[in-house]
Amino acid sequence: MGELMGKLSRRLLYWFRSRQLDAELAEEMEFHCALAARESGGDEGASRRAMGNLTLARERARGVWIWPWLESFWQDLAYGFRNMQRQPGFTAVALLALGCAIGINTSLFTAFNAVALRPWPVKDPGSVVNINQVLMDGPRKGATGGFSLAAHRYLAGHSRALSGVIAMGNGEKAKLGDRKLELTYVSGNYFRVLGVGMARGRGFLEEEDRAGAPLAVAVISHPLWQSQFGGDPEIIGRRIRLDEIPFTVVGVTPVDFTGTSPARNDVWIPFPAKLLLRPHDPQVMRFLTSPDYCCTPLAGRLAQGFTRAQAQAEVRLLLDGFQPPVEHGEWSIVLTGTALLEGPRDDKTKPAVTIVSLLFLAVTLVLLLACANVGNLLLARAAARRQEIAVRLSLGGSRARLIRQLLVESMALALSAAAIGFLAAWFLPGFIASRLVDDHSFRLLPDGRVLAYTLALAVTACLAFGLAPALHGTRGNIVGALKNEMRLTGVRLSLRGFLLAAQVAISVVLLSGAGLLVRGLQRAQAQDPGFQIQNVTVMSLDLPASKYSGAQTKAFAAQLSAELRLLEGLPPVALSMDAPLARSTTSTSVQRPGETAKRGTVVLFHEITGA
C-alpha cells in the first residue's frame, strides 16, 4: 500500500509540474542526439534518422506517467455507467436516495453561500470594505454602530487609502400608490464608487447630495421597473409619487445589482431628499449635518496599492475626533469584507450561526443515512457479483485494481446523484424562499463555489458508501465463490448489521429532533405570556411622514383612541410603540449611581400609554 501511495504521489507531482518535466525530457533527448551525432562523425541528420522519430519517442516516454492511468480510469467509469443502465431498479433506488440527500445539502449550501459567503454584487467586490464601529467591551460587546453623515463627508474628503467612501441607510419604507416600497437612502457617490453600470439612465450626481438643496430624484430597481412600470422604455424622467411627494426617476439599476443590504431594495434616493419626505421632522436636518449623530453604515473602496490594514489605521486616525455612538464603552473601527460572514459577530449573527450549523448537521445526517442505505444495497449487489469478482481475481487481477474499479463504479453513481442535486439547487432555494419571505435581496442561484461543494459531496459520499463494500467484496474465499456457494460469511453480516444500526440511529436522531421542534412550536403557542391574549386585537397605524409631524401623529392617535372609547360595546384601547410580543424592540443601557458605563445593564423598553 505504501508503494502504491508513493507512486500516486509521484504521479500527482507530475500532473502539477508536467510542463517543466516535459521540457526537461526534451532537453535530455536533445543532448542524447547531439552525443550520438558526434559519435557517428558529425552528421546529426543521419543519427537522428537512426534514432527514429524523436517526438514520438518523447510522447511515449511522457505517456508512461499519465496515459495508462487515465485510460483505465475512463474505462472503469464507462463500465460503471453501463452497469447502472443494466440494473435500472437498483440505479433508480440508489439515485433517488442519494440525489435527494445531495440535493437538500446543495440547496442549503446555495442559500448559505448567497446569504453569508457572497460579497456585494458590485464591480471588483474584493476591494470594497465595510467600515464598522464595533463595541470592544461591556455587556453588549460585539455590537456594531454606524457613523454620522458629517463623519462620512469628512472621511470621503480626506481619506487617501480609500478611493471612495459611501453611506447608506435602509429599513425605511415609502408608499407608491398602494404598494409599500423598501427605501434606501444613499450618498451621491454611491453608484459611482460601487461601479454599478445602470440598465437605464444614470446614478446620482454630487450636486444631488447637498444638505441645503434637496432634489427629488430617485433610482429604481430592475424588478420594480418591470413589475410596476411594465419595463417602460421611457421611464427616465418620469414622475413617481413616493408618499405623495413627486420624485423624478433618473436611473434603473441593472438586473444583477440587488443592493447592499440583506433586505429587498426597491428605490434609492439621496440622503437630503429625506427633508422632502419628512418635512415636519426637525431631526432630519440635524441628521444630515450634525457630527454628533450616529448610526449610518459606511463602506469604502480601497485605493490602488493600499491594504485593508492600512486603510483601517487611516480611518481610525481620521475619525478620532468624531463622537462614538451614544452607548458607552470602548468603540473601535474595524474594516471587513462585504460578505455577511466576514462582518463582525454581534448579537444578531451569533444565534444565526448556531441555527445554520444545526441545519448543516441535520442535512449531513440525511446524507449519511442515504450513504448507509446505498452502501447496504451495494453490499447486497457485491454478493451477487461474487462470481465475477472471483473469476477476475483467479485470472490474476490484482485486488487493488478491483477495489479501484468498484470505487470508480460508485463514483459514477455519486456523480449522477450530484448532477441531480445540482439541478435541485437551481430551483429549490428560490422556490422555498419565495414561499417564506419575499423581501430579501439575495440571488439564490448556484455558482462555482456551489459546484465545487457538490463535487466534494459526491466524492465524500462515494467513499462513504462505496469503500466498505469494495473492500469487502474483493476479500475472501475465491474457490467457494467460483463454486457459487452463496454462503453469507459472518463478517459480511456484521458489516450489514453495522450499516443497519447506523441507519436506525440516524433516523432516530432526526425524528426526535423534528418531533422536538414541532412540540416546541406547540408549546410556544400554548404558553401563557403573563397577560390576557384573548379578545385582544392589534392594529397598527402607518401615517405618511410627509404629511404628519411628530406632534400631529400623537394628536391623531390620541383623538382616534378617544373616539374609539366612545363607541358602544368596544373594549378599552391602549397605545404602544411596539405591539406586545411583536418582534420590534427598543433598548437602552442603565447604570446604578457610581457604576461605570462598561458595567451597565442593557434593558429593553416599551413606550405605552397609561390606559
Binding site: 508503494e3 522519430n53 516516454a61 508512461v64 506517467w65
Partner: protein, 112 residues
C-alpha cells in the same frame, strides 16, 4: 547466416533489468547507459531512444531510480540517473527471477 551483425531484440522486460544493473556502477546519463550496454554486450544490445526514455520514466515512476541535473564531460547540462535503495532491492529480486527463468528454459531446451 550473417544475421549476427544485426542487433538482437531484447527479451521483454529485460531492458529495465539491464538499466538497473548498469546504474550499480554509479550515476550515468541516458547516452552513457546506452554506450555501456553496447560495450559490455559486445555490441549485441543496442537500445534506441524510443525505448530507453520510456523505460527510464517508468523506473522514475516506480521510484527505482532518481534523476538530477549536472554538467556533462563536455560541459553541457545532462540528466544523471542513480539507483535508489528500492531500485537496488528490485534489481536483486528481478535478477533472481531472471536466473531461475533462464535456468528453467535451459533445462527444457536440453531435456530433449
Amino acid at each position: 547466416m550473417g544475421t549476427n551483425r544485426q542487433p538482437l531484440e531484447l527479451l521483454p522486460g529485460t531492458l529495465d533489468l539491464l538499466i538497473l544493473k548498469a546504474l550499480t556502477r554509479g550515476k550515468m546519463h541516458g547516452y552513457s547507459i546506452v554506450q555501456m550496454l553496447k560495450v559490455h554486450s559486445d555490441e549485441v544490445v543496442q537500445v534506441g531512444e524510443s525505448s530507453l526514455y520510456p523505460a527510464l520514466q517508468r523506473l522514475l515512476l516506480n521510484g527505482w531510480v532518481a534523476a538530477e541535473w549536472g554538467a556533462s564531460e563536455n560541459n553541457r547540462r545532462a540528466r544523471y540517473y542513480t539507483l535508489t535503495p528500492a531500485g537496488r532491492k528490485q534489481l536483486a529480486s528481478e535478477r533472481a527471477d531472471f536466473n531461475r527463468m533462464i535456468a528453467a528454459i535451459q533445462k527444457v531446451l536440453e531435456s530433449a
